[in-house]
């Protein structure tokens, strides 16, 4: 078994509205799995089903090969998008309470909390009430509570919202470290740059259906159009441009460069090799810039959603 979590054809309706339609995903062990989709696509419903907050109408969810049972709650850490804490409760008391709900004993919880509070340098917050903390500070507490019971599966829904860049980085590093220590992470966000940075697998849900999934690199390979971004320098710009346009499909390109180059996006045919293009170009002009255009997660997202 290489997949920690498998959802098999999961469907869920609310009245006449179908929130999920036969959605299947497989989250490999030790991966960071990006669960993407426009607002209202059904991501939260799927996450809630994994957390056993909502029951699916059809289909099954397996964790480590076993179908989900109440005891699996201990194996999952969930940071919902709609999150908060008891405002008038003290930080320490609250963390202990939430940790005990996840099945830790009081002493265990205290030990681990001490570790985390020291690590994030927030030891002096123990006796403060949540309402005395800033939003970002409360988010830190929330993060600790989510990971405290060392779950196999961590689910983060927009984990960076509310954090300044420094703290966002801190949390990102913590997530990566947890992954390195063996945890599997499901990561739902609209920030494509963090998907790019963190995820190795993604699934895209759109209008209740899964429309795309797999390794991020495989998907990118699938989406790339054999297009190359080139920057050329030549005394005879018009002639070179005309010759290239004659032979290849050319689009204008914009990128930053020191020289006042001819900037082009050149699309090759299915079979053509970049070497052919390069050798052709070197004959015509001086090549300063030659990069394959790799679609970003954002491009893939927008393209897929638009096409559906």
């Amino acid at each position: 078994m290489n997949d920690l979590l498998v959802a098999n054809s999961v469907s869920k309706s609310f009245g006449n509205f179908k929130a999920l339609n036969q959605v299947s995903i497989a989250v490999p062990k030790g991966s960071i799995f990006g669960l993407l989709g426009p607002n209202g696509a059904g991501k939260t419903t799927l996450i809630r089903i994994i957390n056993q907050i909502t029951m699916p109408d059809e289909g099954a969810v397996l964790l480590d090969g076993q179908s989900l049972k109440p005891m699996h709650i201990r194996d999952i850490g969930y940071l919902p998008e709609e999150r908060g804490l008891y405002k008038s409760m003290k930080v320490g008391e609250q963390c202990l309470y939430l940790a005990q709900l996840k099945g830790l004993t009081k002493t265990e919880a205290k030990e681990r909390l001490k570790y985390w509070f020291d690590k994030l340098e927030i030891g002096d917050w123990w006796n403060k009430k949540i309402q005395e903390l800033s939003k970002g500070q409360a988010q830190k507490i929330q993060f600790i509570v989510t990971v405290l019971h060392r779950p196999k599966l961590l689910i983060f829904d927009e984990p960076f919202s509310g954090f300044d860049p420094i703290n966002a980085n801190l949390i990102k590093d913590e997530i990566l470290q947890l992954r390195d220590e063996g945890a599997t992470v499901i990561f739902s966000t609209h920030r494509m740059e963090s998907v790019e940075e963190l995820c190795d697998h993604i699934a895209l849900i759109h209008k209740s259906n899964k429309v795309l999934d797999g390794k991020l690199n495989d998907i990118k390979r699938q989406f790339k159009s054999n297009t190359f971004e080139v920057g050329l320098e030549s005394f005879n710009r018009e002639k070179v441009f005309a010759e290239i346009q004659d032979k290849f499909e050319v689009l204008p390109a914009t990128f930053k460069n020191l020289n006042d180059d001819i900037k082009l996006n050149i699309k090759l045919g299915e079979q053509a090799s970049p070497n052919d293009l390069l050798s052709f170009l070197t004959l015509k002009a001086e090549v300063h810039h030659f990069v394959e255009v790799i679609p970003s997660a954002s491009d893939i997202f927008i393209q897929t959603v638009k096409n559906n």
Partner: protein, 437 residues
């Protein structure tokens, strides 16, 4: 995994440690006692006031009936003219002047009695005067018919019907009063408890929604566990508060009445004098004895057990509905539309209890309402002191438990869906749809 004890503990301690809860717990009895003390003190003041009432009797029938009492002195102004008498009373600043004008005969007197005073006189003074005059005129009329005063005295009889059930249980009039007091207190206590702590549960559910912690909690515990934990924890806090109120109230009552010498039992005393007269006739001694017998006559074991069951059953039934309302809405202002259907049966129960149970504890209306689950806890608790057959109690309790289970199922459904719904005010139609999610 059973998290119920953990949740109960948290709910309990959050409530109990809450500042406003602590303030309310200790301040309410103080305020109540202070209020009662002030009212008692004021009415005592009123009662203690010495008043002088002047009598001008031109018929001579009634002038000598009035005996001075502790607080009231009567002066006889016979011989003066009405104008002079009024002037004199004004000058002396007496309480007022009772004037009995010239009458042709005894029958004619009633049309000629008047009371002159600066301010409008108190009802108790007037009725006491009326009673005394009526008594005297009646005696006079009887004397005219040839009956002597001694005969009148001798003809006075006082009937006290001794009541005994077929099983041989003795009871008296005062029994019914005691039964009413016990039943009424139990029913009313439940009513208050539901309103105060039901609301508290509702607010605590709303708080979890508005603080957005709910999804975090719900990913660790089942909604029904959270709901039950909330209900039980809040109820325990409520019981704690009630016990403190009772103890503190009792202690304060004793302190206030011993230190300040205010008799707190004399709060309702506009008719104090009349009451006292009535009491003297009956004999306070006998009353007290009857009271003790009456309390002894109550089916105490049944009362206590039934109280526990109906109180807990009724309270849980209503509080699960309150929890469901809390889950369905986003803020407290939206609760109004859902509160009405809950409050209606509750208020109805209290009305039925107060009006019909007193009239006829085993009549059709009382019996029917003591079976309908939403009203049965209050009505049944009021009926039980009058002796309700065990099968009726059992059946009613069974219905109550059945409804309670249904209500918890219903509330849990609403709760499960509602706690994750934000930003819209649900309609009844939507609530119904939630049941099928």
């Amino acid at each position: 995994m059973n998290h119920l004890p953990l949740i109960i503990k948290r709910e309990y301690f959050t409530k109990v440690k809450n500042k406003s809860f602590i303030v309310m717990t200790f301040l309410s009895p103080l305020i109540m006692i202070a209020l009662i003390a002030v009212v008692a003190y004021l009415s005592q003041l009123n009662n203690d006031k010495e008043r002088t009432i002047s009598i001008l009797d031109e018929t001579g029938y009634v002038k000598d009936v009035f005996q001075n009492t502790e607080f009231t002195t009567y002066t006889n102004l016979t011989g003066l003219s009405l104008e002079d008498a009024i002037a004199l009373v004004k000058e002396k600043e007496d309480y007022g002047l009772l004037y009995v004008g010239k009458a042709k005969s005894l029958d004619d007197v009633s049309g000629h009695v008047k009371f002159y005073s600066e301010d409008s006189p108190s009802i108790s003074v007037i009725s006491s005067l009326e009673q005394q005059i009526e008594k005297r005129l009646k005696e006079r009329k009887l004397e005219l018919d040839g009956v002597t005063l001694a005969q009148i005295e001798a003809s006075q009889t006082n009937i006290e019907i001794a009541q005994e059930s077929f099983e041989g249980e003795k009871s008296s009039k005062i029994d019914n009063v005691v039964k009413l007091a016990f039943g009424g207190a139990a029913g009313y206590l439940l009513f208050m408890f539901i309103i105060i702590y039901g609301n508290m549960i509702m607010r605590s559910v709303i708080e979890e929604k508005t603080s957005r912690i709910i999804e975090v909690i719900i990913s660790s515990v089942k909604p029904i566990q959270l709901m039950m934990g909330k209900i039980i924890g809040t109820s325990l806090a409520g019981v704690t508060q009630f016990v403190i109120w009772v103890i503190l109230g009792g202690v304060l009552m004793i302190i206030v009445s011993t230190i300040f010498g205010i008799d707190l039992t004399q709060v309702q005393s506009p008719q104090q004098e009349m009451m006292n007269q009535a009491m003297q006739a009956d004999g306070a001694q006998v009353m007290a004895e009857n009271l003790i017998v009456a309390i002894g006559n109550l089916p105490m074991t049944n009362l206590i057990i039934a109280f526990l069951f109906f109180f807990i059953g009724g309270y849980l039934l209503y509080s699960s509905l309150y929890a469901a309302i809390g889950a369905a809405v986003d803020n407290e202002t939206d609760t109004q539309q859902f509160m009405l259907p809950i409050l209606m049966p509750l208020i109805l129960a209290v009305y039925v209890g107060v009006f019909t149970v007193i009239e006829d504890p085993h009549g059709t209306v009382s019996t029917v309402f003591s079976f309908i689950p939403l009203t049965s806890p209050v009505v049944m608790l009021m009926r039980i002191p009058f002796g309700v057959p065990l099968w009726q109690q059992g059946l009613s309790l069974l219905l109550l438990i059945g409804t309670f289970i249904f209500a918890v199922w219903f509330a849990a459904k609403i709760y499960r869906v509602g706690i994750l719904m934000y930003g819209k005010k649900p309609t009844y139609k939507e609530l119904f749809k939630w049941l099928k999610y």
